[in-house]
């Protein structure tokens, strides 16, 4: 069964303290690995898509990487406005258009 697992569930950082979020996946025929950001009371907002092992993408203080078993979201020198829940999702070959989501990592960055 296709599965996506994120860790840790929650992460508290001081402003400027870099860290990484992990997303482990078991998906048949991965067609894409996605990262979303979700703020309280809002729907998820798209961040990145990764398609093959070794691929990396960056946006401001965020960098996403992909291996054959997991993806990492690296946060460099975070700011309080980076506080949110980060969701990882996988699109497999047998899943038509649907995504399999992990449970998310809630990040809190303190000033």
């Amino acid at each position: 069964e296709d599965q996506v697992t994120q860790s840790p569930e929650a992460l508290r950082l001081q402003e400027g303290e870099s860290s990484s979020l992990n997303c482990s996946y078991t998906v048949s025929g991965l067609r894409g690995l996605f990262w979303y950001r979700q703020d309280p009371g809002k729907g998820p907002e798209f961040l990145f898509t990764l398609y093959s092992a070794g691929e990396e993408k960056e946006k401001e203080r965020l960098k996403a990487t992909l291996t054959k078993k997991e993806s990492f979201l690296h946060i460099t020198a975070p700011k309080p406005e980076d506080s949110a829940t980060y969701l990882c999702a996988a699109h497999g070959s047998g899943n038509t258009g649907k995504l399999i989501f992990g449970q998310g990592t809630t990040l809190q960055v303190k000033p």
């Binding site: 894409g32 996605f34 729907g43 898509t49 969701l87 649907k98």
Partner: protein, 114 residues
């Protein structure tokens, strides 16, 4: 419209009542998805519409749940005889095609069954 619109934003209903949740996708988006997000849980796939194809209903948790999409645009998710375990945020997303990078999510409907 500019984004995916969902209504109502909040709904409180009594156990056993039926509820309808509405989703207005982005104009021109052929794919529409419903997901459910329970407290502390990830997004759970419910149903997917793509153009004129038969919908993928594989995620609907019971026959109390149904959804339709009229004219390839607006979608309604109906929950009959609501139960307390149906309490969750129901999220709708639309996209031009398959895959997650085209997903635009609405803000969701928070359903509370009392």
């Amino acid at each position: 419209g500019a984004g995916v619109s969902q209504s109502p934003s909040n709904k409180v209903t009594e156990k056993g009542k039926d509820v309808e949740l509405r989703c207005d996708p982005i104009s021109g988006h052929t794919a529409l998805y419903w997901y459910r997000q329970s407290l502390g849980q990830g997004l759970e796939f419910l149903i997917y519409f793509q153009g004129n194809s038969a919908p993928d209903k594989s995620g609907l948790p019971s026959d109390r749940f149904s959804a339709e999409r009229t004219g390839g645009s607006v979608s309604t998710l109906t929950i009959q005889r609501t139960q307390q375990e149906d309490s969750a945020v129901y999220l709708c997303a639309s996209s031009l095609g398959l895959g997650g990078d085209g997903y635009t999510f609405g803000s969701g409907t928070r359903l509370t069954v009392v």
